[in-house]
Symmetry: C2
């Protein structure tokens, strides 16, 4: 059975986006700081060396994507192609016009449980990559998020948009794995049910 | 030179106290969950076995305490005695009446920089234990907090009081040490200046 996993780079004070996060400035001011750990040995954006590189490879083994509408619209659904896998967007409103050109993108109006069930079926034995702070919280609330892979970055933002802001209740987690690098503390959690 | 260190148990979503935190319910609902890692092999509250026990011993080597007024008043200044070391409380208002009976407790009205300078002088070659979410943030802002020892607990609270809520600006940290246990991920940070 496929697992659903949120991958998120987060500051120690819980921010996943800086101030002034809008379509013209995706991720807000200082967003790049949260993703500096994605740096190749040559200093380019990409696969890092060492254990963070293995994590990078692992992240890229998803078989489907479940993403929030805000997230996908900021990047116009990755132009319809994210490594060639199906992309599911839970939303109560109909999609924008570009989606008609994207056969891999499916808007699901029946709620996040249905969207996740479709994503897991599409992912087969691979995992479902969950994208978006709001969507991850709704998935947690609905009991359909299985794991969280948090890249905790050694910085305090002091402002912006938080990963956990609208979570309605207490959720117990299990620490599955900790990868300790100078750039980030990568902690993987399983949701206890 | 003495270092100032915040020790804080925090949920993954950044809470250090649950809902309904007040003097009759210090730490709020669910507060105990954040401190379960302080459990002896016999299941009592106290020194844990293994690497968390070494951290517990290290924490107890402080030479002075700098604590926020809210924190100290909730426990009436530990009845004036916290391991026999001097306790400094930055506050613009005069202390309550009990403090007259506590020779080790000093209220400092000249601001947090002065309070920290006095605490460091009193601590000698030991460290200054910093207590209280608001006070830690003011110390960070004033540039007088040196390190943060965060005990990150595998739980999402969804509500309560956060460690980082009123921090006015971006602060860069360095990861000094990660201790990986099933009960908590203990991350020590140094503040970069």
């Amino acid at each position: 059975m496929s697992a659903s996993v949120l991958y998120m780079s987060m500051s120690l004070d819980g921010y996943i986006a800086g101030p002034n996060d809008d379509p013209g400035n995706p991720g807000g001011d200082g967003f790049g700081r949260l993703h500096e750990w994605f740096t190749t040995p040559d200093g380019e954006f990409g696969r890092p060396a060492g254990p963070a590189g293995e994590l990078f490879d692992e992240m890229n083994t998803y078989g489907a994507v479940l993403a929030g509408r805000r997230t996908v619209e900021q990047v116009d659904h990755w132009n319809g192609d994210r490594q060639g896998v199906p992309i599911f967007v839970p939303s109560h409103r109909p999609p924008g016009p570009s989606v008609a050109n994207y056969p891999l993108v499916t808007y699901v109006t029946e709620g996040i449980e249905s969207a996740m069930a479709q994503a897991k079926a599409a992912a087969g034995d691979r995992y479902v990559l969950v994208h978006g702070a709001y969507t991850a919280q709704r998935a947690l609330e609905a009991g359909v998020l299985d794991e969280l892979q948090i890249h905790q970055i050694p910085v305090l933002f002091g402002g912006g948009r938080r990963q956990f802001e609208v979570l309605p209740s207490h959720v117990e987690l299990e620490i599955v794995r900790v990868i300790d690098t100078p750039e980030a503390t990568h902690i993987r959690y399983r949701v206890r049910r």
